[in-house]
Amino acid sequence: LNLELTAEQRAARAEFRAFVASEIAPHADRWDREEAIPAALVDELRRRRLLGSNVPEEYGGLGRDMITYGLLTEEIAKGCSSVRSLLTVHDMVAHAIHRWGSREQRERWLPLLARGEVLGALGLSEPNAGSDAKSVETVARDDGDAWVLDGRKKWTTFGQIAGLYLVLAQQDGKLTAFLVERDSPGVTVQPLKGVWGTRASMLAEIVMDGCRLPKGNLIGRPGFGLSAVVSTALEHGRYSVAWGSVGIAQACLEASQAYARERRQYGVPIADHQLVRRLLTDMIAGVRAARLLCLRAGWMRETGDPLAGGEVMIAKYFASTLATKSANDAVQIHGANGITDGYPVGRYLRDSRVTEIIEGSTQIQQINIPLFELQEF
């Protein structure tokens, strides 16, 4: 395991960091209030080839390695977790299609996703099915020359602007995944407003009412929709969220260091007070540890290690809980200023809470990590 970044990876990180500092971070609080990111930003992400960048070159992608992808996710999340969540869901769909799509599906969709010409989103959660994904109530029926889907997908991140949804449904009692195009007959998209974490992630409910799909839109095999297709997507999402959580914690650290140096109480900068230093120390050590776990998981994914999935869970669990703690402490360091709109730490706290819910909640990780570690039958 080599934890040193290559010259290319360091250069890529510097490029991501400069882009985020100039084009994302200064606007993130406004996007948060507006509950949307602007179309011009999505265009810029496309232009810079930051969407679907893991897609291999043979399908028109950049074929970015997992470590570089992680660095990208961290830097984007440092500026805005809502933008990070666009990369997460879009790349989850691309990753699942690359892994389990038929040759026709890969050739059709991957070039579009790699260029960001179509945005992908995951249609998994429903009003009555969250962590218990096996209980989805969306039903797919074989209607001769078409699949017909009926159901409702909730909390679909960037569902408002996505053009392709990876949807999990019950097909004759078997969990099966489908590629649902936004303009398919019977699909309506209803924006979800009023969330208070990753507020600009443009959530939507995707309603499928007699939605007719070509037979070729089933992805994977009947019965493998969750265990293979969606699990593959979720592992990628978990990896992305783990790095994104490191980004939030790093942003909390930088904001807190700057504030603690500038803010004076009892005649000295508050950074000179030992209890403030203790909070900073937890952030410093935590960020280092979380980043190392992400690097380890990334290295294992990059090399195709069969045990990578469990390491991704551990990285996500550690990094997301760290992000929440770091954001909570960052607000504390900022005192009354921390609970105003004038500082970004309140947004970091709201966004960090989301990382503990999505792509397997903290409690689901707590159930599954010991299973992974003790896999003995």
Partner: protein, 81 residues
């Protein structure tokens, strides 16, 4: 058992520690095999044998026994050749 069978048995032995897994023994019948292990098996086959497992191979019978996995590897190698 040839080398392919041995490697598969060695990989599976880390999960079935107190059991001498036989080539035709159904691992799914031995107890709870979760989806994490199923995906680990797919990743193991790809990494260890340098083959690509695709959607057409998503069939539990391809992963049910050491012999079945070895047969899948042989088939994929033949297809790649």
């Amino acid at each position: 058992m040839d080398e392919t069978h041995e490697k598969i048995k060695e990989f599976l032995s880390r999960f079935f520690k107190n059991h001498d897994l036989q080539p035709d023994e159904d691992i799914f019948a031995l107890g709870f095999v979760n989806s994490l292990l199923a995906m680990q098996l797919v990743a193991f086959v790809e990494k260890e044998f340098g083959v690509s497992v695709g959607d057409e191979d998503l069939d539990l019978d391809n992963f049910r026994t050491i012999n079945a996995i070895a047969k899948l590897v042989e088939k994929k190698r033949g297809a790649a050749a």
